[in-house]
């Protein structure tokens, strides 16, 4: 399937060009077609530079979905995503093709909080329950009873998602979005967007002042390993370039820098025959180390977000095994004593589509370019929020406002205004 059907050149014209063929890009394209009203009303083009997805964050994700967030918008997005994934065949089933199987593991997330974090955890759980999520609070004694393999030293409180939380197969979701969008008539092509053809005008902004407004006229799609390119004339551009969204936005408006950048994260896979059993949730420790069960053969995978000063170099996807030895394993073995004896099987690195400003998604119209929309900055939650974010951006493009979920607080305007909308429950 990778690279199969997309060797054709880009068309010369499209209404909406979605730059980035990851899960968010395809979700936007799918929802544009699903909400367009009349079949074939729009030409949507998805541009992906790497059809093998060798560096794409979508397929290097751990695949978790959770409801345990601190911002109501994130909880609502996840609740919508969970119901979307549950009924995925109603949305993404294609007549005449096998049903989508996301391999969802409904095993929940287990967040542990120390004395210091307990109050915030409790506050978040109250918010999550108000939003309709099923989350249980566990005392250390109850935690020990439920999961006897956990060492509860230093744990003051734990929260455990009971429904709609767990993990699934990222490839399956990406493939399902692609297949459905393609069957609805979304065009796709392989190529890299390296420049735009802009036009600028003097426009009247809301305050009544005249201000220069720029517009993207053409998206120049460059062929791989070649100097050839094809200009695609378009009305709207959606920037779903993930970790490279900041770079792409700067091509259109060099004066405005969006703080969207790649951050390298490692995922390690280890084998431990005496580790947690079938009931193992995705556990997020007080130290920030997380792990989950992978299949039923005694394999686990996990990792940790490094401290700000230890951020690894993002130029390649080399795995730093010392990071596991020094920063991850000691915490794992402290939390789950069985993990003192484990063997690392493999590891991989992937990019977080990181919003360095406040680690929340950026969804909405670009402040400097009239017809550019941004859907990026998910900071590790792109996969689970893609169904909701895709629909939100599609509504914004088609109807000019958010309809089903009000995500206006995620607009890029907050970056310029310097008002962070920080999500505290970041893994």
């Amino acid at each position: 399937m990778p690279g199969g059907r997309s060797r054709s050149p880009p068309p010369e014209q499209a209404d909406v060009v979605v730059v980035g063929g990851g899960v968010v890009g395809w979700a936007v394209a799918y929802w544009l077609k699903a909400l367009e009203g009349r079949p074939g009303a729009m030409r949507v083009l998805v541009v992906e530079r790497d059809p093998t997805y060798s560096r794409a964050s979508s397929v290097r994700a751990v695949g978790g979905i959770r409801q345990q967030f601190s911002l109501p918008e994130n909880i609502r997005m996840s609740r919508f995503s969970a119901s979307f994934l549950r009924t995925v065949n109603e949305h993404l089933g294609v007549p005449g093709e096998p049903p989508v199987d996301l391999q969802f593991n409904p095993s929940g997330y287990l967040f542990l909080a120390s004395e210091r974090g307990a109050a915030a955890l409790e506050r978040n759980v109250r918010l999550q329950r108000d939003e309709g999520a099923r989350v249980a609070l566990l005392s250390p004694a109850r935690l020990k009873e439920k999961f006897p393999w956990v060492n509860v030293d230093g744990v003051a409180l734990a929260s455990y998602g009971l429904e709609d939380e767990g993990w699934f197969d990222p490839w399956a979701l990406l493939g399902a979005f692609r297949r459905k969008a393609a069957s609805l008539g979304v065009l796709s092509c392989v190529g890299e967007v390296k420049s735009f053809v802009m036009s600028s005008n003097v426009g009247l902004v809301a305050t009544g002042q005249e201000q220069p407004v720029s517009r993207i006229r053409y998206v120049n799609v460059h062929a791989a390993d070649s100097r050839e390119y094809q200009p695609v004339s378009c009305a709207v551009v959606v920037n779903a370039a993930g970790a490279w969204a900041g770079e792409l936005a700067q091509l259109a408006e060099p004066r405005l820098r969006l703080p969207l950048e790649p951050r390298k994260r490692f995922v390690y896979v280890w084998h431990c025959p005496d580790g947690p059993g079938l009931e193992c949730p995705l556990l997020v420790d007080t130290s920030g180390v997380y792990f989950r069960r992978d299949g039923i053969g005694g394999n686990y995978l996990g990792g940790r977000s490094p401290a700000e000063e230890d951020e690894p170099d993002t130029s390649d996807l080399e795995v730093d095994y010392d990071f596991f030895q020094e920063k991850v394993w000691p915490e794992l073995a402290r939390r789950v004593p069985a993990f003192a004896a484990l063997k690392v099987r493999s590891a991989w690195a992937g990019y977080y589509d990181y919003n360095a400003f406040d680690r929340s998604a950026v969804l909405g119209a670009h402040p400097g370019v009239e017809n550019l929309f941004v859907a990026a900055g998910f900071s590790g939650r792109g996969l689970q929020q893609a169904p909701a974010a895709g629909r939100a951006v599609a509504e914004l493009v088609l109807r000019g406002r958010f309809q089903s979920l009000d995500l206006s607080r995620f607009g890029p305007g907050r970056l310029a205004a310097g008002e962070p909308l920080a999500e505290s429950a970041v893994v």
Partner: protein, 289 residues
């Protein structure tokens, strides 16, 4: 915001875009030279959306959830439509409608009995759902006999007398209950016995909802559910008082011997039946009768 209507479509194939000063003359290379594939089967035609060849389309038939009785007939009909759909887009539209109709029927069968719940309470509503919507049965506390639908599928009026009696057993064997149908059951507080055997639409998401019976449920059967996998069975660890779990005939579960060991480790007080330690070492049994 840009008006989308402002970019009218040229008829396919498209005219060249207006020349632009920024373009190097003739610098199109392979992109510009190659004509776009002309096949256009449906409106809004898409070269990205080229459909599977007939051979590939029929190859997809092998992976289906249901394989017996009326389901097999429906599957056959669907396969026929699918094959036709490779040549005629009308047949594909028909297949889409038929799938949508099936979904609507399923949704109706699993609708929340809010009216009964308001008038008679949670327990009667759950029993009503089991008897009337699913053709199953329910047993109330202190009674030995099961309440079941009569020959014409109606529930007995006795049911409505049992307003404040808790339901202790629900039998939904072979019904169309799915995730949303469980809305009717999740408020039961004294449910000790639940039989979900042979439910074609019961999936792992639905199993994850059974945690609400964690304090009460003693016996559970998910035997013969074609969509239940070991991933959903893992969510049953919430049922800590479970004494008997029937997991026979689960075609989607691989390595049954290992899964049984893991289930027994997870639920130490529970008797797991229907999976042998040797399962998975021999050819899988046929579909449930």
């Amino acid at each position: 915001m840009a008006a989308l209507g402002a970019a009218p479509y040229a008829p396919y194939p498209l005219d060249a875009p207006p020349p632009h000063p920024a373009l190097p003359g003739g610098g199109r290379g392979p992109h510009g030279a190659e004509p776009l594939p002309p096949q256009l089967r449906r409106c809004g035609g898409a070269w990205g959306g080229a459909r599977a060849a007939p051979a590939a389309a029929s190859a997809g038939c092998g992976r289906a959830w249901a394989s017996s009785g009326p389901a097999a007939a429906a599957e056959l009909r669907f396969a026929a439509l699918r094959r036709l759909g490779a040549w005629f887009s009308d047949a594909e539209v028909l297949a889409g409608w038929s799938a949508r109709l099936q979904r609507t029927r399923l949704r109706t069968k699993n609708a929340y009995c809010g009216y009964v719940q308001e008038l008679y309470g949670d327990d009667v509503a759950a029993a009503y759902f089991a008897i009337s919507c699913c053709g199953g049965g329910a047993r109330f506390e202190g009674r030995d006999e099961w309440l079941r639908p009569d020959a014409r599928g109606r529930f007995s009026p006795e049911l409505l007398q049992l307003r404040d009696v808790p339901v202790v057993a629900i039998d939904l064997r072979g019904s169309a209950v799915n995730y949303s149908g469980l809305d009717n059951l999740v408020r039961l507080t004294r449910l000790r016995h639940l039989d979900l055997g042979g439910c074609r639409h019961l999936d792992d998401w639905a199993l994850a909802r059974l945690h609400v019976f964690g304090e009460s449920l003693r016996e559970l059967s998910v035997a013969g559910c074609p969509r239940v996998t070991e991933r959903g069975l893992a969510a049953l660890h919430h049922l800590r008082h479970l004494q008997r779990l029937d997991v026979s005939d689960l075609p989607a579960v691989p390595n049954k011997g290992l899964v049984r060991i893991l289930l027994e480790e997870m639920l130490p007080h529970c008797q797991v039946v229907g999976m042998d330690y040797g399962d998975g070492l021999e050819p899988p049994p046929g579909p449930p009768a």
